[in-house]
Symmetry: D2
Subunit: 93 residues, 4 copies
Amino acid sequence: MAGYAADKKACMARLKRAEGQVRGLQRMVEEDAYCLDVLTQVSAITKALQAVALKLMDDHLGHCVAAEAVEGRGAIEVKVREATEAIAQLVHA
Amino acid sequence: MAGYAADKKACMARLKRAEGQVRGLQRMVEEDAYCLDVLTQVSAITKALQAVALKLMDDHLGHCVAAEAVEGRGAIEVKVREATEAIAQLVHA
Amino acid sequence: MAGYAADKKACMARLKRAEGQVRGLQRMVEEDAYCLDVLTQVSAITKALQAVALKLMDDHLGHCVAAEAVEGRGAIEVKVREATEAIAQLVHA
Amino acid sequence: MAGYAADKKACMARLKRAEGQVRGLQRMVEEDAYCLDVLTQVSAITKALQAVALKLMDDHLGHCVAAEAVEGRGAIEVKVREATEAIAQLVHA
């Protein structure tokens, strides 16, 4: 089971909204909106996606990683390394 | 005319691709994909959107800001301040 | 004990290097170096500090959070929430 | 002359403060401060350095790039490309 199972509905709603925002962006470009207005909107979507990512990470640490920890130390190191790599992707995205 | 006028087609193509990526993300969540695989995909979309943003900024500086500069110093300060604020949004997004 | 106890020496070495980099930056500004060369160096230091932060997070998840997880679920939620907030700070820094 | 010439003193003051913050970080690690307190401080320094970077970019666009623009279009393209690359470094730092 995915770590975000309990939040799946909220997660999907956020992603639907992000899809709508990307389509809104296309309309802005289609209508030759001012460059910086388009840019501001891109930053807003990026921020919305990062919020999704942080929620997923929160769920992942609280469920998947914690579950491994309860099982013992061997597995946790692999899980934590994996989580840190995902955090690094987010930070440098 | 928008600064990205000459790149409008390429810009739209990137945004169509981003929309497809966000829909792909929804499928992943729908199918209970592993948290960190979803996260990796979120980082990829964020990176793709930032590439769009940087291209828009490049066009904006090269067309809109440069055009103001040719007109004289008064206007350029407002334009540069505005551009820097958009850059700040991108950096802290 | 801090989660980074085992890496304390390496961590201190990185921070000494970062201090040297910031001093190098001061010399560049003192000598009127080209704006974008200064900017490139600022980005390099930011990246170095983020590497320190990611190492700290890795140690924190692998030691402090994992230790709580072994103790049982009650404590882990607080720890994970706290970790996610720190990750959010890093992402939006 | 560097684009930040008029702000050199303020820029140096910010960099002195950043140096002090990095030294404060070393003390925290030396005294085994809690991982996430160290992390919060790293994020604060990163943010302070990005503020320096954004000020430098503002000065650069307003002086160096604008000066080229006044001279004519040939030079501006190189300058803008260069500025956008520096912005990309900042965004992905």
